[in-house]
Symmetry: C2
Subunit: 343 residues, 2 copies
DNA sequence: ATGTGTCACGCAATCGTTTGCGAAAATTCC
DNA sequence: GGAATTTTCGCAAACGATTGCGTGACACAT
């Protein structure tokens, strides 16, 4: 039945040395402080008995659990799994495990989950679901818990963050539309309490100025959530306003998908009558018609980078050596949802 | 800076009682063995100091970590996130956290991950990535670790499993095709080393007999992986064989998507010339044209159920009280990828 | 032979809880 | 009011690892 676990004590008894010697012999860095002969004898005994270290006990003593917390809004949102794989790809080989939690973008749920993670003694947190101002996580970070944020950033804090080059992406996309002859370009902006939503709106405004495209506030409509339904609603509003536009630059793919759907409902063809663009290049996009022109972000790389920065923090790297800001390059992917402007 | 954590000892000193008394006062079930006045005084002190229990220390002593391991092939596969949310929805409110690992369907990686989870002292494992014969997990289970498998099952073992009613799904789908007048129905089977692949092929065979549809072995082609590429390859093989068919029943959605793509490449229209069906009803399917007729499985419910069964195991429910087999009902969703057979 | 230094290992405390046991205190019973 | 019983709480030993410190052994130089 439930076999008793092998402990250091068992190995010590078996080899006739003290448990502390066993501990050192099995620790790759301490091992050199032990006679090679003894060390290998201990190693052999450990292997023979099938010893597996008890991480819980070690964690209690060292105060390191080799566990990190990963907070995301919702794992069923397809842009997150690749990020998680990226994180895992750097952390897992080093012996870290991650506890993934979904905040559902709810403030109280989020702050409760931060506590859950801290209770479990995570060595650090990668937070891909922060709000623009987020006292819970800011407090945790200021109390010394290593934290990095991903995709978003919390304002006025010393928390390192990894984001995509929203500016460049939006700017290139706007340039693409302009080159296709579009002049009346609408923007379906994302929720303004999320830094992505806010950054992309600002980027849109800046890009317009830089590209000498007229910025038309009346052609900007703001979504409350990053989903298809709200994308559709925004297009409804746009249409209801009666203003003319030949292209819609959306703050993410899901809004764009909803937008295209709503246009289709109204008998407006994308891209012949109205061009639509997205952001993120989420998986499965190539399977959906019309294939969406969008900005590709490097999700996997983002995950890797976040993990790497967190590692530096956890290894006590002095603050000035760890990059506060990492901006990942993006690229625009032109597919079928954009076309020459109709005049 | 890094504030020292409040421990039971701190509260004991503050309230002038022994640490064991504090422990009892803070434990909802032991609390009644303490004078109410003392208990509430302790509670108040704990709140005032902002006490947070150290789960690591508790875990060392009790040998329960309130953590479960969840093994899946690949989180970027869209059918898994909903399952995870299901699991989380029952486990998280009870104070459990889950460590999710991706096996990538690699045997050695999988067995290494089982060890990783055991080293971390998980209280149980939900395994949604087992192979048909899987000694690693079988051994873990037989050594007393609570394990349940999801979507798949390991043969010749006492491990409880939760699966979908593959039989009913395939049968209904075949009936649907037959009712549309199809007689020459191909089957793109899944990998036969996975129980889903194997079960669905068997189901196809049985359903044919039950519905008096002729079973044609030469119209069955087996995929090596559950992905679009192999779905396309299977259709290539089918086409290359020169045999006539008017419908393809695929073992899952991704195979079906690949199949439709390949047909399109060859200038064969789905559904006008060939009907294609899937299995799983994964998210985003409604956005892809032609909208796929498929079998909807209850991913969220499956996750919930797996978690519930695992809980029973972990709570030491006697084996005969926990269901060995749970078969979840499925329903077929008729969309646009199936049509009347062309003759 | 003594002193100095290094090396290899043992000793014991420690991390923060939980829990069986026993003793003191409070309560009940006759 | 004393015995019997129950309640309430303290004591101390775990859980399994890590690690600072100390000590004996041995080598080497003097």
């Amino acid at each position: 039945m439930r076999q008793k676990r092998i402990t250091l004590k068992d190995i010590a008894r078996e080899t006739g040395v003290h448990v502390s010697t066993v501990s050192r012999a099995l620790d790759p860095v301490e091992r050199k402080s032990i006679t090679e002969e003894v060390a290998s004898r201990i190693q052999a005994a450990a292997d023979a008995l099938g010893y597996r270290p008890n991480r819980i006990a070690a964690g209690l003593r060292t105060n390191r659990t080799m566990t990190v917390g990963v907070m995301i809004p919702d794992i069923t949102n397809v842009i997150f799994p690749p990020i998680l794989r990226g994180i895992e790809s750097v952390l897992e080989p080093l012996g870290y495990a991650s506890i993934i939690v979904n905040t559902d973008s709810e403030r109280d749920r989020e702050s409760r989950l931060v506590d859950v993670l801290r209770d479990r003694g995570v060595d650090g947190i990668i937070h891909a679901a922060v709000l623009r101002s987020d006292p819970t996580i800011a407090r945790a970070a200021s109390e010394g818990l290593p934290v990095v944020t991903l995709n978003r950033m919390v304002e006025n804090s010393q928390i390192p963050y990894i984001i995509n080059d929203e500016d460049a992406g939006i700017c290139e996309m706007l340039g693409h539309l302009r080159d296709l002859g579009h002049r009346d370009i609408a923007h379906v902006a994302g929720p303004q309490d999320l830094s992505t939503g806010q950054l992309r709106l600002a980027a849109f405004r800046n890009a317009a100025k830089r590209l000498s495209v007229e910025f038309r506030p009346e052609l900007v409509v703001t979504a409350r959530r990053f989903d298809e339904k709200d994308g559709a609603r925004c297009v409804q509003d746009l249409l209801a306003s009666g203003r003319k536009f030949t292209a819609i630059l959306c703050a993410n793919d899901r809004l764009a998908l909803g937008a295209i759907d709503e246009l289709r409902e109204r008998g407006i063809d994308c891209p012949r009558q109205v061009s639509v663009t997205g952001f993120n290049d989420m998986p499965f996009l190539e399977l959906i018609r019309p294939r969406l022109t969008t900005v590709r972000i490097q999700s996997h790389v983002a995950g890797c980078t976040a993990a790497t920065v967190l590692l530096q923090l956890m290894n006590g790297e002095s603050a000035e050596n760890v990059p506060m800001e990492t901006i990942l390059p993006v690229e625009i992917i032109v597919r079928e949802s954009t076309a020459q402007a109709a005049h």
